[in-house]
């Protein structure tokens, strides 16, 4: 049974991807890509419903790959194909990529290897498909200028090699190359610790957690928006956090130190990425920092170690994939019309792009954790897990870390809200302060449809979080969880629709049956501007940026020396100089011998007999 599913999830898309390279017109390539991804999506739904037994595929005599779903990986598989399909639909109208000869080949291949990674039951097939995603990350990022692609390759490659080594050490400890489902290994010796840290590096690099995150903002500036929407915003989070879930719940039994490590890493990721996002002037870079910051929430969920914490981490992973990819795609929709991502050159677009505005509003409220959207529920669950941890654990040190994580998570939400007030003001409200006020034609439905679907999901998961908890989490973990305060889903839906209905009635009754430009006093982030001609959104929070302490911190964070990539490069070059010196030193006797012999040959003029010159 699983073999027939694999035909649609891997073999057929792979075949189509290979064929697409040889098709010259763009339209058939787009249609084929959407068709095979639709087939894969339908197949992923069937896999999730039927949960077929794993299948063993003989690769060569020493190794057979074992592929099959469990409740969590089936769910991940479903969303991989869902995001793949949405991105393909969106990309078929996105100017920067729709005509590219290789884009759809890369996209379909990306979904194939992501499917294989999610379905892997043994470590080797996981490493193989995981590593193949690295090559595809490079290929897709190279569609931009390519410089950031190499940085991404180096940092994520570091994570992948770490994962390989971590797996080797894990297999040494456990004696099996199969990924364990039940109780994992206790972290009671250095080899297991090393394995845990190395595997964690692999998951962190994929999910974009600190300190392995620096490739994401750079890539955001260069890569096409659909690539950012599918990679760091959705697939990387799904797979990276999926691996983290397997590490922290199946591979190892985490002790207090491991939990503290996760909590600290997650908290720092939230705060530092949130602070960096606050001062960005480029929409893509700002969103990239939020792709990083949100990963921190997921990590602290796993750091809580409790059932509700893990559920919160996984649910936040899903929610983040939905709204973050929605935000990137919305950014692309804006750029399609204004041809820029610079917040200084955008403004007043709500009247021209009302649908996109509503979608971005939903995404912004979701990412900021405002009810009744999905981000609120997962963050609420996270706060609950932090508070439970604070009271349940006995270690004073760990209590302190829980408190720090709780404060970081709440502060992170504030930073997020502040940043997205800036985004909404700069892009959709305020005034268009650019010299060229021209705007492109309206976006086609293929650009708008994914935004509508994703914003709809933000509402659905916000109102019905039990869809995830009851269908995925509880069957996978085999235990039940309860929220501190129940969420009346049906009542909430009714109230929401009633409010919307009343709003529409009010709008019509007020005699405004159409959209008009309205000038009004606006909230400008608490700033007091001293000029009257307008106030660009990028001036928001200038006082924070220029604050006496924060100014120095920002300067420190923007130094290239704090970038993981530069640190690694510097270290490798330093070691290389030492090794080169030693190697040359060992060859010194032969160097001296050659020097003496050369002098002798030159002195006695016999050189020409040995080495006659030929032009």
């Amino acid at each position: 049974m699983m073999k027939s599913y694999l035909f649609f999830l891997a073999f057929l898309p792979m075949l189509a991807a290979s064929a697409m390279v040889f098709i010259k017109p763009a339209r058939p390539r787009q249609i084929i890509a959407i068709a095979v991804l639709l087939a894969a999506f339908i197949c992923s739904i069937l896999v999730f419903i039927k949960m077929p037994a794993p299948v063993s595929l003989k690769i060569f005599s020493e190794y057979s790959a074992i592929l099959g779903p469990n409740r969590l990986s089936g769910f991940i598989l479903f969303f991989i194909n869902f995001f793949g399909l949405l991105t393909a639909v969106y990309s078929s109208s996105y100017t920067q990529v729709k005509d590219n000869r290789f884009y759809f080949t890369y996209l379909v291949t990306l979904i194939v290897f992501s499917n294989l990674a999610a379905l892997s039951v043994d470590f080797i097939s996981l490493i193989f498909s995981w590593g193949a995603l690295l090559a595809l990350l490079y290929a897709l990022l190279s569609l931009g200028q390519g410089q950031s692609a190499s940085k991404a390759l180096s940092i994520v490659g570091f994570g992948d090699f770490s994962l390989l080594l971590g797996v080797a050490l894990y297999v040494l400890s456990s004696g099996s190359a199969m990924m364990p489902e039940g109780l994992g290994l206790a972290l009671d010796n250095p080899v297991k610790w090393a394995s845990f840290i190395l595997m964690l590096s692999g998951a962190f690099a994929k999910a974009g957690c600190m300190p392995l995150h620096t490739w994401i903002p750079d890539a955001a500036e260069e890569a096409p928006v659909p690539v950012m929407a599918i990679f760091p915003a959705s697939l990387d989070k799904l797979l990276g956090i999926y691996l983290l879930a397997r590490i922290s719940t199946g591979f190892f039994v985490l002790n207090n130190y491991a939990l503290a490590l996760l909590l600290l890493a997650g908290s720092l990721t939230i705060i530092i990425a949130g602070m960096m996002a606050l001062i960005q002037h480029d929409l893509r870079k700002l969103l990239a920092y939020y792709a990083i910051s949100q990963a921190g929430y997921m990590v602290i969920g796993f750091g809580a170690g409790s059932a509700i914490g893990i559920a919160a981490g996984l649910f936040h992973m899903l929610n983040n994939a939905v709204y973050n990819s929605g935000l990137f795609l919305s950014g692309g929709a804006v750029a399609q019309r204004k041809n820029t991502f610079d917040l200084n050159k955008l403004g007043g677009l709500a009247i021209f792009m009302p649908l996109e505005f509503v979608c971005v509003l939903v995404f912004s409220l979701s990412i900021s954790g405002i009810p009744p959207f999905n981000g609120f529920v997962s963050k609420w669950m996270l706060y609950q897990s932090m508070i439970s941890g604070l009271f349940d654990v006995k270690s004073l040190l760990l209590r302190g870390v829980f408190l720090f994580a709780l404060v970081a998570a709440m502060f992170g939400s504030m930073l997020t809200l502040a940043s997205f007030i800036k985004v909404l003001y700069s892009v959709f409200l305020g005034q268009d302060s650019s010299v060229n006020k021209q705007i492109g034609p309206e976006n086609p439905w293929r650009i708008k449809l994914p935004l509508v679907v994703l914003s709809g999901l933000c509402v659905v998961f916000g109102l019905f979080p039990n869809l995830f908890i009851k269908l995925v989490y509880e069957p996978w973990m085999n235990r039940t969880i309860s929220l501190i305060s129940g969420w009346p889903g049906v009542v909430a839906v009714m109230v929401l629709f009633l409010a919307l209905f009343l709003g529409v009635v009010n709008w019509h009754l007020s005699g405004r049956g159409r959209l008009v430009l309205r000038r009004d006093a606006a909230f400008i982030g608490g700033e007091a501007p001293d000029f009257r001609t307008g106030f660009p959104g990028t001036e928001f929070y200038r006082t924070i940026e220029d604050g006496p302490v924060l100014k120095k911190i920002y300067r420190l964070m923007s130094l290239s020396g704090t970038d993981f990539y530069n640190l690694i490069e510097g270290f490798l070059r330093f070691v290389a100089y030492i090794i080169k010196g030693i190697t040359l030193g060992l060859g010194l006797p032969f160097e001296m011998f050659a020097r003496v012999l050369t002098k002798v040959l030159r002195k006695y003029g016999k050189l020409k007999y040995f080495l006659p010159k030929v032009s």
Binding site: Y63, A132, G146, G157, F161, A177, A576, I579, F590, L611
Partner: protein, 462 residues
């Protein structure tokens, strides 16, 4: 009719024909000569599939016996060598300018020497043909046609002569201990650990010297295809074969030897990687990279199990393809820009998209990124060696693979991305581009279908 002397004579005749033919026909005749070698390899593979044992013996006296045999390992190595050399010779069509260094004749002669050394089952003849191959390499490196960089060449001769002396000493010692030089009679005989180490060092020194000279920055005579030939002939084929066949498979070695082999492989990986990381000349970086990657092959051999040998063979095949591809890409770059230094080249991806694609495919295979062929040996070697308890060595090997990623991506960034500093016209798929693209595509396909690659190896390992 015995096919072994026939094939050897045919190869020799083809090499002589290349040597005496007019200059403008030489590149074409070189292709024919390589085709002859490759056909011979395929014939031997067919024999192995049908389980026919080809042997040839001509006894002069008790210790001097000219004997050849077609076995699994030597046929595999010769197949890979002749296939890669054929690709290089196709690439070199139309390059008459290289004839001032006797390029075609040297390559044809080198191929014959490699063939004879691989199939020889007598140590003294194996040594003589190996020396012959090294001599061809020296000619190929322009040793007798340029007085530039004299000091470096003299150092090269000194080191090479020292290695020859060590090899002679080793062979004499083996004869005195066992009273024979026939490999068949030496199977499972003990070899003193120190002697094995000297033997290993001498073989590696001689092979690495030639490649190092070919890719040396500032050497007037060096060109990238020549370095590619030397890499495939001396390092990837002969050095690998001698270490695997003579030192690992024939003689019974102790743990000391295998630990030393691991240490030597680490030296190769890291010292060459250091030069590659700090280098600024394309040929030099790729040459150092080739030496560094040879360390990974040695590391696979150090596993001393059947799986290790099979992994080493896949690693050798992957390296042969990828390094050849990188050298040929380097040659394309140098031909188009006339420059070797990274400081003078940049932004070429826009002008040379085919070369850039081939370069990145080969680089990914060499680094060991899935789904390329280079991934499988690296992954399997790490997993199996850690199981044997060699944790530290494998940690270092993974670090080495990461360093490879770092310097190859640095090279790609500097040459193909960034600011355009040198290039004149738009790239069109020339025959040479098709060759490098074919090599890159083969690395990808064979990695995607490892079952075929490993299944193919079954013909050679029983």
């Amino acid at each position: 009719m015995n096919p072994i002397p026939f094939c050897l004579l045919l190869s020799l005749a083809a090499a002589l024909l290349v040597a005496v033919s007019p200059r403008r026909f030489k590149p074409h005749l070189l292709v024919v000569s390589m085709l002859v070698n490759f056909s011979a390899a395929l014939y031997f593979v067919g024999g192995l599939t049908r389980q026919v044992n080809y042997t040839f013996q001509l006894e002069f006296n008790r210790w001097l016996c000219l004997s050849f045999a077609v076995e699994g390992l030597n046929t595999f190595v010769f197949t890979v060598f002749s296939f890669t050399a054929l690709l290089i010779s196709i690439y070199c069509l139309g390059q008459e300018a290289w004839e001032k260094n006797h390029f075609c004749a040297s390559v044809a002669n080198l191929s014959f020497m490699v063939m004879a050394a691989l199939f020889s089952t007598n140590l003294i003849f194996m040594f003589l043909f190996f020396e012959g191959a090294c001599f061809c390499a020296f000619i190929l490196n322009g040793l007798y046609s340029s007085s530039g960089d004299l000091k470096f060449r003299i150092k090269n001769i000194a080191l090479s002569s020292l290695a020859t002396l060590v090899l002679i000493f080793g062979i004499v010692n083996i004869y005195l201990n066992n009273n024979t030089l026939q490999l068949d009679f030496l199977i499972a005989k003990p070899m003193p650990g120190l002697l094995a180490l000297f033997f290993l060092s001498a073989v590696l020194l001689k092979s690495a010297q030639a490649l190092h000279l070919a890719s040396k920055a500032g050497t007037a005579a060096s060109c990238a295809p020549q370095a590619a030939v030397l890499n495939i002939a001396l390092m990837t084929s002969l050095a690998f074969f001698i270490v695997a066949r003579v030192l690992v498979l024939v003689f019974s070695q102790g743990q000391l030897f295998f630990d030393s082999l691991r240490a030597v492989s680490m030296c190769f990986i890291f010292s060459a990687a250091a030069f590659a990381l700090l280098g600024s000349d394309i040929r030099n970086i790729i040459g150092s990279c080739a030496l560094s990657q040879f360390g990974f092959i040695l590391l696979c051999l150090a596993g001393a199990r059947e799986l290790s040998l099979r992994t080493a063979m896949v690693c050798m095949f992957a390296n042969a393809l990828a390094v050849t591809g990188l050298f040929l890409c380097a040659d394309r770059i140098v031909q188009r820009t006339g420059k070797f230094s990274l400081r003078e080249i940049g932004g070429l991806a826009k002008f040379m998209p085919y070369t850039a694609t081939a370069f990145i495919l080969c680089a990914f295979s060499l680094i060991g990124i899935p789904p390329f062929l280079g991934f499988w040996p690296k992954c399997l070697n790490v997993l199996s060696s850690v199981q044997q308890g060699h944790v530290f060595i494998e940690v270092m090997a993974v670090v080495g693979a990461f360093v490879t990623l770092f310097y190859l991506m640095r090279l790609f960034n500097k040459v193909f991305l960034g600011k355009v500093s040198a290039c004149i016209w738009q790239d069109r798929p020339a025959p040479s581009d098709i060759v490098v693209l074919f090599i890159g595509a083969l690395s990808l396909l064979s990695g995607l279908l490892p079952g075929w690659t490993y299944g193919f190896l079954r013909v050679f390992i029983k």
